[in-house]
Amino acid sequence: MIPYVPGESPVHRCPPGRKILALVAAGTVLFALPRLDLALAAALLALAATGWLYRVAGIPGRLMLAQLRPLAWILAVLVLVQLALDGWQAGLLVTARLSALVLLAGLVTLTTRSSDLIEALQRGLVWAKPLGANPAKVGLAIALTLRFIPVLAAIAAEVREAQRARGLEGSLVALTVPVVVRMLKMSDDIAAAIDARSYDPDRG
């Protein structure tokens, strides 16, 4: 899970809403440019700019590379496909585009407290209220996801270990059933805990 890295840099102090907008804008530009050479130049420029922003934010290179790790396999496959179909330039373009975007998204989460991010998203979602969206609920859902992914990972690891200890290994079904059962029990408890702390979805 990507943690928040506290700091006082301009990147940290930039309002979260503006960071999200910048991310969306960068993504649009990166993927909308029609000509290959233009797009490639833009992507490489974006990559360089992103690297510079990481330095400004004071995020160590190790953490920056860690953002790309989950993507490594997908990137490798995409590059190979593009190389085979369209040549090296297209391969480079795909890599540069995706890496720049993932790094930028990573930078936003690394320099923004999740509560601030959620609040900004909620404010951004206010316009969707007439369409029946409930920004407060969306915000809580995002927060809960961020909070409980590590807990779920820990549960899965625990169950796998317990099964290994009893000689049961490598069965997806055997792993899924106890994990799902514990998740259901857990979600009951979490719902009660949220209630107990006076959460009111209609207030937000």
């Binding site: 509560s115 909070r147 805990a193 209630d195 702390r197």
Partner: protein, 224 residues
């Protein structure tokens, strides 16, 4: 004061609490009993997390069936497993969660979060991801998150069961220092010697209701 009047509770066919009538006024009340005797169900009735299938629970005159929300503001609840009650990813943000739900202004929220961080020695961890805390720190955070909301009464359902000896003591001291009235469910009898009143549950009934010097030995005899 919490008034419990002819309360019974069943999950489907399964009767879990039978005909309880009690007034809870003491500063420290302990609830003990065997596994499955109904303690957690009883605890959940006290802040309206659960509404009884029969009878009434009233907190300072508010009925949990009608005024559930208001009751939950008065009565804080700490669960056994802190992992499931820390709902936001960061330490300080989780402390702020309940306060935002109370609709408090921003600076008041910041002030109370700060105070809670200090009181429970969590200031160095304010921006720390909650899932990286130790078990004891998690339970402290969970308790702090409830206390920051300044409830009049606090119900704790086995808050120390998952903790080691040092953290047990720490939580025990934190609970001891609470200015509020507290109702404490626990299997840890040593922890309960200083309370004002002990309720012993068995099969959904209160079978002993007395001071700890009388009730705790009687409970031990009952269980052996």
């Amino acid at each position: 004061m919490i008034e419990i009047r002819q309360v019974g509770h069943a999950f489907g066919e399964r009767v879990v609490l039978r005909d309880l009538t009690l007034d809870l006024t003491e500063r420290r009340i302990a609830v003990v009993g065997g596994n499955g005797s109904g303690k957690s169900t009883f605890a959940r009735l006290l802040n309206g997390l659960l509404v009884p299938s029969r009878g009434h629970v009233r907190v300072d005159g508010l009925d949990t069936r009608r005024d559930g929300k208001a009751v939950r503001r008065k009565v804080g609840f700490v669960f056994q497993n802190p992992d499931n009650q820390i709902v936001l990813p960061g330490v300080a943000e989780d402390l702020a969660f309940g306060l935002r739900n109370l609709g408090l202004p921003k600076d008041e929220i910041a002030r109370r979060v700060d105070e809670a961080l200090h009181r429970y020695d969590l200031q160095a961890l304010a921006d720390h991801p909650a899932h990286l805390l130790s078990g004891g720190q998690k339970q402290l955070l969970a308790i702090a998150g409830v206390l920051a909301m300044a409830p009049d009464i606090i119900v704790l359902d086995e808050p120390t069961t998952l903790l080691d000896l040092r953290n047990k003591r720490r939580i025990a001291q934190a609970i001891d220092a609470l200015p509020q009235r507290a109702i404490l469910v626990s299997h840890d009898l040593a922890f309960l010697e200083g309370v004002d009143r002990v309720l012993v549950f068995d099969e959904g009934r209160v079978v002993i209701d007395d001071s700890p010097s009388v009730a705790l030995p009687a409970y031990e005899a009952m269980m052996s």
